[in-house]
Amino acid sequence: NAGVTQTPKFRILKIGQSMTLQCAQDMNHNYMYWYRQDPGMGLKLIYYSVGAGITDKGEVPNGYNVSRSTTEDFPLRLELAAPSQTSVYFCASSLGQGVANVLTFGAGSRLTVL
């Protein structure tokens, strides 16, 4: 059981480049999330999804896009990368709400924009 898998683990981008962070879960979880964590800080919600075909903005969505075409996958797209997007990105999933709402996190993707 792989849980939540994120790729790549590390990436360096130049300003203005684009890329997609991949996230896949094999637990049949309905809810999926993207967070970013800057050094010494907590997690900020970028986007989330409550099921295939449904996405919603979190606290810091600007500069990012997501899609949820399947239950398993929730890719995060960065368009026109900026130094302010240098961060560690975590994907997470949960079965639903109530007692099933504990998040399972991926290992994180460290992105540097130069």
Binding site: Y31, Y33, Y35, G40, M41, G42, L43, K44, L45, Y48, V50, D56, G58, E59, F90, Q97, G98, V99, N101, V102, L103, F105, G106, A107, G108
Partner: protein, 109 residues
Amino acid sequence: EDKVVQSPLSLVVHEGDTVTLNCSYEVTNFRSLLWYKQEKKAPTFLFMLTSSGIEKKSGRLSSILDKKELFSILNITATQTGDSAIYLCAVRRGSRLTFGEGTQLTVNP
């Protein structure tokens, strides 16, 4: 806008000390409060609290929620160097989970 505030932001103690970490929140339609421990990688789940006054306990860690005063505390007794980590508090409203800034705990031998 949902707000989760943790204090202190950092704390340095000696092995054997007892620590109390605080989390206050302003969230409409509160569903639950969760505590996570983050070492070098992804956060790992500690506790989920939904009802006031009921202590959750796991070994040397315990936590309690006060829904009237809108806060929670996480206690760690007899701290060990392995407790050094960032402790994150998160509050759920509907399908959204909002995190606080975290408390960086350092336990020195």
